[in-house]
């Protein structure tokens, strides 16, 4: 029990200080609507929800998680309050886990609006609830970890934001959010396959029986692999770069 105290405390502090602040909550609500509206204007007809669903859900998760880590990690490090965590008798692994839990939950929360709107308003047919839920969770975890990896490398908040944009925007096109990976030119396809978000999007495509590349189980295994890899790399970087 005592070992869980720091975990809960870090998580609830981040929730209170960052995630539950009105601007951040409203971001999670407005952002998906803005994208749906954009799709609507672009197509000038009713949206084909089947086509845009994986993209909008992934975008909400991706932008929600990565933008928060620039604050909870890079900013706290710059303000030196992160030192307090490093000084506490908690392993770096567990304190980083506590730090990213907030962002993961925030990613999941951000996906709720588009999912609920799709199901209840657009009557989207979910063929596999399991793929949908595991897709949302794993995509939240993996994009949080991408954000973590970037935030650990950055010295300034603006650096973290620039770096993450550098990754986020190409990923919209490379990871099959709106254009299926298999319809991309063959030379750039390898890029798609080294980006973890591709497999998360594919999971969401599995869930609505859309055009997908792999089966649910394959996507899950690959995503778990990326999660282990990114977590290990980030911890390694913190130990190496932050404790000089």
């Amino acid at each position: 029990m005592r070992a869980l105290i720091p975990f809960w405390s870090i998580l609830s502090k981040d929730m209170k200080n960052y995630y539950l602040k009105p601007p951040n909550i409203s971001w999670g609500i407005i952002f998906p609507f803005a994208w749906m509206l954009m799709m609507f204007i672009r197509t000038k007809t009713a949206i084909n929800i089947q086509e845009v669903f994986p993209g909008i859900v992934s975008m909400s998760i991706l932008f929600g998680t990565t933008s928060m880590l620039a604050v909870t990690i890079t900013f706290e490090r710059k303000a030196r309050s992160f030192e307090r965590l490093l000084l506490a008798p908690i392993s770096i692994e567990s304190l980083v886990f506590a730090k990213i839990s907030g962002a993961i939950l925030f990613g999941i929360f951000n996906s709720l609006i588009p999912v609920l709107v799709a199901i209840f308003y657009f009557k989207l047919n979910i063929s596999s609830m399991f793929s949908l839920i595991s897709g949302i969770i794993l995509l939240s975890v993996v994009s949080t970890l991408l954000g973590l990896y970037i935030s650990v490398a950055a010295k300034e908040v603006f650096e973290a934001q620039t770096y993450s944009n550098f990754f986020r925007f190409p990923m919209i096109f490379l990871c099959g959010l709106f254009v299926p990976v298999l319809s991309l030119p063959i030379i750039i396809r390898p890029l798609s396959f080294i980006l973890p978000v591709t497999y998360g999007v594919d999971l969401l495509r599995n869930s609505i029986n859309g055009i997908h590349i792999f089966q649910t189980a394959v996507n899950i295994v690959i995503l778990l692999g990326f999660i282990v890899l990114l977590f290990t790399l980030s911890i390694y970087n913190i130990k190496k770069k932050w404790i000089k």
Binding site: I5, P6, E83, R84, L87, A88, P89, I90, K244
Partner: protein, 323 residues
């Protein structure tokens, strides 16, 4: 007495630059151990190695005789740290900041709330407990940062320049708190560049310069080592004179004494033996110096420091203020 910390050949290199150069010392349980040195001497770097915020380039750190150089996490529950800059959460109030710090050490809610309340009272911050940290004044911030380092009741508290940049009254208050804390059993590792502070607070002091410990001893011993040295300061109504000329003349007449002209109003004489004051005053009187006062100076740690390190104190203070 028990050793709580021991540093053996502790060294820190940043690339080619050696910030801390193979230093050896121990900290005894229950003492206030001072690290005294100018800017860039390596004080903060040493602390960082002792608390696990910097990797040790070579050498070892022991806590209670256990080599923890590579496993600092093991020692961290014993340690409280007050860094040289405030590092609490700007957007959180005083009370929440303290409670959060306590929770990182596994303190249950009720326990940490009680402790936070008590510390806020001790530090005279009770009425500001709901004020955000970034709305605190500099002195209040420093006090809360010290309180935060004490939340989990550490055995040893590291204080990195606790009174730098703080007004006289707050500085005194902080020194009193440090003393009290130490009386109740907390071992203290303190860095400072204020000699008087080190003299007033510490049991033992290490002088550190360019990453090396030049001298380490108890304050009493350091003062005794300097006791043979006698010093007299003679002041007079302001008078115009040529410094070099006067020095040569004084040398000729009082060869055994060192003379130093402090300004156009004061001359300092020092020597190994007791100084006979009458001939000095007579001499100056003949030269039409209107002597007002002759003071026998007590041996001070300041002199020891200047002797040992060759660093003039005024320089040290000036640099700090620039910062």
């Amino acid at each position: 007495m028990k050793k709580i910390i021991e540093a053996k050949n502790l060294t820190k290199q940043f690339g080619d630059f050696t910030a801390v150069d193979s230093i050896n010392f121990d900290v005894q349980k229950g003492e206030i151990f001072g690290f005294l040195g100018p800017n860039g001497a390596g004080k903060t770097t040493t602390i960082n190695m002792l608390i696990g915020m910097a990797k040790v380039s070579s050498g070892q750190v022991f806590y209670y005789d256990e080599n923890v150089t590579k496993i600092m996490k093991k020692a961290q529950k014993l340690i409280g740290v007050v860094a040289d800059e405030s590092n609490l959460y700007a957007e959180m109030n005083g009370f929440d900041n303290l409670c959060f710090c306590g929770s990182l050490y596994g303190m249950p809610k009720i326990e940490r709330e009680q402790r936070a309340k008590k510390l806020l009272e001790t530090f005279g911050l009770a009425e500001f407990k709901n004020r955000k940290f970034n709305a605190y004044s500099k002195g209040m911030k420093r006090k809360l940062t010290i309180a935060a380092g004490l939340m989990h009741n550490p055995e040893i508290l590291f204080l990195d320049e606790p009174t730098t940049g703080i007004d006289v009254a707050s500085g005194r208050h902080i020194r009193e708190l440090i003393k009290k804390l130490n009386k109740r059993g907390t071992t203290i590792f303190l860095t400072t560049h204020y000699i008087e502070e080190a003299e007033r607070l510490c049991n033992r002091i290490a002088f550190i310069k360019s990453g090396k410990i030049i001298k380490l001893d108890s304050v009493d011993n350091l003062l005794i080592s300097n006791k043979e040295k006698k010093k007299i300061e003679i002041s007079f109504a302001e008078k115009k004179f040529m410094e070099e000329e006067l020095i040569t003349e004084l040398k000729a007449n009082f060869g055994k004494l060192d003379c130093k002209i402090l300004n156009q109003k004061t001359i300092e004489f020092s020597g190994k033996n007791d100084i006979n004051i009458v001939p000095l005053i007579n001499y100056l009187d003949r030269k039409e110096f209107n002597v007002l006062e002759a003071k026998v100076m007590k041996p001070s740690l300041e002199d020891v420091f200047v002797d040992v390190t060759g660093i003039e104190l005024k320089m040290m203070k000036k640099e700090k203020e620039k910062k």
